[in-house]
């Protein structure tokens, strides 16, 4: 029977049962930063190389930005492209999102829109932080 309190079926990530708050926090932080999963690796081995290539390209873009060789617009373009790709990766490897308070432990299956919202919001925060940090450090100048 469908639970009307949840928008989709409940899902438990591997770390959801831990009682150690620090471990849970660390696992969630890792989840936010690392879109791949072991399960995802197995299922998506064919595209793994492409995914990593893109990840490397993004990293290079940030490094280029750090040495002042990329315009701010290009960084945003790269970051946006990466976000689109991350949505696809996560839908295959970590297809869940949290519902309700962020300190809670209610997870559910992510629809494509849920994942777009999650990755978009998360990467906006990460991107803005990195962008401002680079700007503050004088590594990019616009």
């Amino acid at each position: 029977m469908v639970d009307p309190k949840l928008m989709t079926e409940p899902v438990k990530p591997p770390y959801a049962h831990t009682d150690n708050m620090f471990a849970l926090f660390a696992a969630e932080a890792w989840d936010h930063l690392w879109p791949w999963s072991h399960h995802g690796f197995k299922r998506r081995r064919a595209v793994l190389a492409a995914e990593f290539s893109l990840a490397i390209a993004v990293s290079i873009a940030w490094i280029l930005a750090a040495i002042g060789d990329l315009q701010a617009g290009a960084i945003i373009g790269w970051w946006f492209g990466w976000s689109v790709f991350e949505v696809i990766i996560r839908m295959g490897s970590k297809p869940y999102v949290k519902q309700g308070p962020w300190w809670g432990r209610v997870y559910r299956r992510a629809t494509l829109m849920d994942m777009v919202c999650y990755v978009g919001f998360k990467n906006l925060l990460i991107g803005a932080t990195l962008f401002l940090a680079l700007k503050w450090a004088g590594l990019i100048y616009v």
Binding site: M1, V2, D3, P4, K5, L6, M7, I67, G68, Q71, A72, G73, I76, G77, F80, V97, K98, Q99, G100, P101, W102, M113, D114, V116, C117, Y118, G120, F121, A128, F131, L132, G138, L139, I140, Y141, V142
Partner: protein, 726 residues
């Protein structure tokens, strides 16, 4: 048929032309200016100075610091000074709402009255389509004939405070406040240089000689020697390990500092050469290859790379104001590759008051290669231990944004109270929904409808505080180019509204703003409710869930489209953001815009009479932007397990946000609370009705309804044994 097609074609062409007309008028929007306008000595060869002084027959080269140009007319074979022209960016690059400056050519007549103003380039999105550029021209025309030394401010005149008021532009307050600052700063900069404005005479410092000899580090630590560093990135050059220039400077008239830097005899020698009211400062360069004296310096000229500013007064140096500095006596002084002593010959300057040392450089735009002037400065103020009586008390005038907050304090207070009240009412929604029933929702609706009316009248039409997707795009732009908090604080209502929106979206989802506080959304639903109550209910309809589920994605595409376009062209994104009817409805007014905009608003509001919030559900890009984080709101609405099979709430949901399984999509929910009223209504919620009937049949008491939406269970308590005592 052919005639019909012709009529249609004419309509489409007319609409396109009408829409394009304001854009065509907006000829200064992102206008291309020749690169030389920023640097060429002959400014008026590249800027339309003739538009400022039509009778002028010649214009001088750029002169002074900051630069200005003299306008002359030939009369009876004599050259007569008509006035002065200044390019605003030669004085200040203060950004307007777009994060970029409004580049303006400003003219002063020989008596110091504004003689002409011409906008050469701006990036203000609101002036592209929302408000005609002529509105800013009309605003600028208010300066004509006014004296540059007057206290001119945006807002009402206050003769008792000698404030001359200027009419603002509705919907472009930030732009005109920034423009006023530019006009007054640039005008004053010229006025002071040419003697129109009297220099401020400051009380001269009386020094305390402490008879100590601090070393270099001690002098730096106490602030008697300051450092000014300009990095290559700041002047548009590739980042490097070495600064573009690193300068150290200090004030030498104070005996302890002067003797420590120069040595006692050199200092006495220097002071002996200074007259009353003259001041000496030293400058040394410890890094960088650029000369602070300037490579093009010629005898008789002025040093064009350094300057001292005290409040609004600028002090430049001529060749006779320079002495060589061969060594620094203070132990621990760094090695330097260029040095000098500059003399300020003006009793307008005082060592007792704060001042700035300014390095005047050029910035190269790495994208276009164009150069523009850029000032880099460092503050200096002698420690009070060196001054008799300590530092003088200085009254710093309020920043423009602070003046706005002060002058509109009452409205701001009311607005904040409104936002807090709405949040507090919603936080207590459980009480309100329990006091309501399906047939009588007034405990909820009284607050909600009051909120709508205040939102439309006070927030929308009076305060013009309609949040918009253009603000999101503007922030994005400002983040990239120049983020200044002052800019956003200048519109206090929008600033506060966004704090409310961000907080409530994460607490409860977008529904509290969209459903209760958005002026246009409120107007839209209020129309729907009024139409229903005056007999038009039979014409009102809801789309099928299937159609809604498809159409709702449209607003997300609109939002993503605008976001993508904004990365490439903010201007185009702002044009496309006209999909929001907010400017036409509130900011500019239907009567002040071309008919297609009015027609668009009329269609949207007309549709709202027959179906609930069509714009909010299917088109609003701001709604889509807020819906996305609403996915992760903390507190949602309640549900019972039976909701998965019972469709009572879904049938009544005006937002069509409840699916066939009884799940509420908080991205679409407007938090009308109808389903929450039903949730605790034991005469309307089917599972609860069933439980009530069962209890009544069994003769059981009807206990209060718990948070889970059911009666609180009756738990039998074992009877106490007879005669037992506590």
């Amino acid at each position: 048929m052919q005639t019909l097609l012709t009529v249609l074609r004419h309509c489409v062409v007319s609409a396109a032309l009408a829409l394009a007309a304001p854009a065509a008028l907006a000829n200064a929007y992102e206008a291309h200016l020749p690169a030389e306008i920023n640097t060429a000595p002959q400014l008026c060869d590249y800027a339309p100075c003739k538009d400022i002084f039509p009778n002028a027959t010649s214009f001088s080269e750029r002169k002074g610091r900051p630069f200005y140009v003299e306008a002359y007319a030939e009369a009876d074979g004599k050259r007569k000074l008509l006035g002065y022209v200044v390019l605003s960016t030669d004085v200040t690059d203060l950004p307007a709402y777009s994060g970029k400056p409004v580049i303006t050519l400003i003219g002063l007549d020989a008596e110091g009255r504004f003689a002409g103003v011409k906008i050469l380039k701006h990036s203000e999105p609101i002036l592209l389509l929302g408000i005609p550029e002529s509105a800013l021209i009309k605003f600028n025309d208010q300066y004509l004939g006014k004296f540059v030394g007057d206290n001119i401010q945006v807002g009402q005149s206050r003769p008792e405070e000698n404030i001359i008021g200027l009419d603002a532009i509705s919907g472009a307050t930030v732009t005109v406040i920034a423009q006023n600052q530019v006009m007054m700063t640039a005008g004053a900069a010229v006025g002071r240089q040419v003697g129109i404005l009297e220099p401020v005479v400051r009380e001269q410092a009386r020094f305390i000689e402490r008879k100590h000899a601090p070393d270099w580090n001690a002098l730096v630590e106490e602030g008697s020697i300051k450092r000014l560093v300009v990095t290559p990135e700041q002047v548009g050059l590739p980042r490097g390990s070495e600064p573009f220039i690193e300068l150290w400077f200090g004030y030498l008239n104070q005996p302890d500092i002067g003797k420590a830097v120069l040595g006692a005899s050199a200092w006495s020698n220097l002071m002996g050469r200074l007259k009353e009211g003259e001041h000496a400062l030293f400058v040394v360069r410890t890094a960088g290859k650029e000369s602070f004296k300037g490579s093009g310096f010629v005898r008789g000229g002025i040093y064009d790379r350094v300057q001292v500013r005290q409040d609004m007064d600028a002090f430049t140096f001529r060749d006779l104001d320079y002495y060589n500095l061969y060594s620094v006596a203070a132990p621990g002084a760094p090695a330097f590759s260029e040095s000098g002593i500059f003399i300020i010959r003006s009793d307008s300057f005082s060592g007792a008051y704060p001042w700035k040392f300014v390095f005047l450089g050029n910035r190269v735009d790495r994208a276009t290669g164009t150069r523009s002037f850029a000032n880099f400065d460092a503050d200096y103020w002698l420690q009070d231990t060196y001054l008799e009586g300590g530092r003088p008390h200085i009254v710093v005038p309020d920043a423009p944004w602070l003046r706005v907050w002060k002058t509109r304090a009452v409205e701001i207070g009311l607005f904040v109270a409104l936002l807090i009240a709405v949040a507090a009412v919603y936080a207590n929604r459980d009480r309100l929904t329990r006091a309501s029933t399906r047939k009588n929702k007034w405990p909820v609706n009284a607050f909600k409808y009051t909120g709508w009316i205040i939102s439309i009248g006070f927030v929308g039409f009076h305060l013009l505080a309609q949040p918009s997707i253009t603000q999101v795009l503007t922030w994005f732009h400002a983040l990239l180019f120049q983020w200044t908090w002052e800019l956003f604080l200048t519109d206090p209502f929008i600033f506060l509204f966004w704090i409310f929106i961000i907080v409530t979206v994460f607490l409860w989802g977008r529904g509290l703003f969209c459903g209760w506080m958005c002026p246009f959304g409120s107007a839209s639903e209020l129309l729907y409710k009024i139409a229903g109550s005056i007999g038009l209910k039979r014409f009102q309809f809801k789309l099928s869930q299937r159609a809604h589920d498809r159409l709702k994605w449209l607003k997300y595409w609109v939002f993503f489209g605008l976001l993508a376009v904004s990365v490439f062209s903010m201007g185009l994104a702002e044009v496309l953001a006209e999909v929001e009817p907010f400017k036409t409805t509130f900011l500019v007014g239907v009567l002040n815009r071309n008919w297609p905009y009015g027609l668009f608003v009329a269609v949207l509001l007309g549709l709202s009479i027959f179906t609930e919030r069509p714009f909010c559900k299917y088109l609003c890009p701001l709604g889509a932007a807020l819906a996305m984080p609403s996915t992760f709101r903390w507190f949602g609405l309640r549900r019972k397990q039976e909701c998965s099979t019972c469709h009572a709430c879904a049938v009544g949901c005006g937002s069509l946000a409840i699916d066939k399984h009884g799940r509420i999509d908080h991205r679409e929910c407007m938090l009308c609370l109808d389903c929450m009223v039903l949730y605790t209504d034991d005469r309307a919620c089917p599972p609860l009705v069933k439980e009530r009937k069962q209890r009544e049949k069994a003769g059981l008491a009807l206990t209060p309804i718990g948070e889970d939406g059911y009666y609180i269970p009756i738990k039998p308590v074992p009877a106490r044994a007879a005669g037992s005592t506590r």
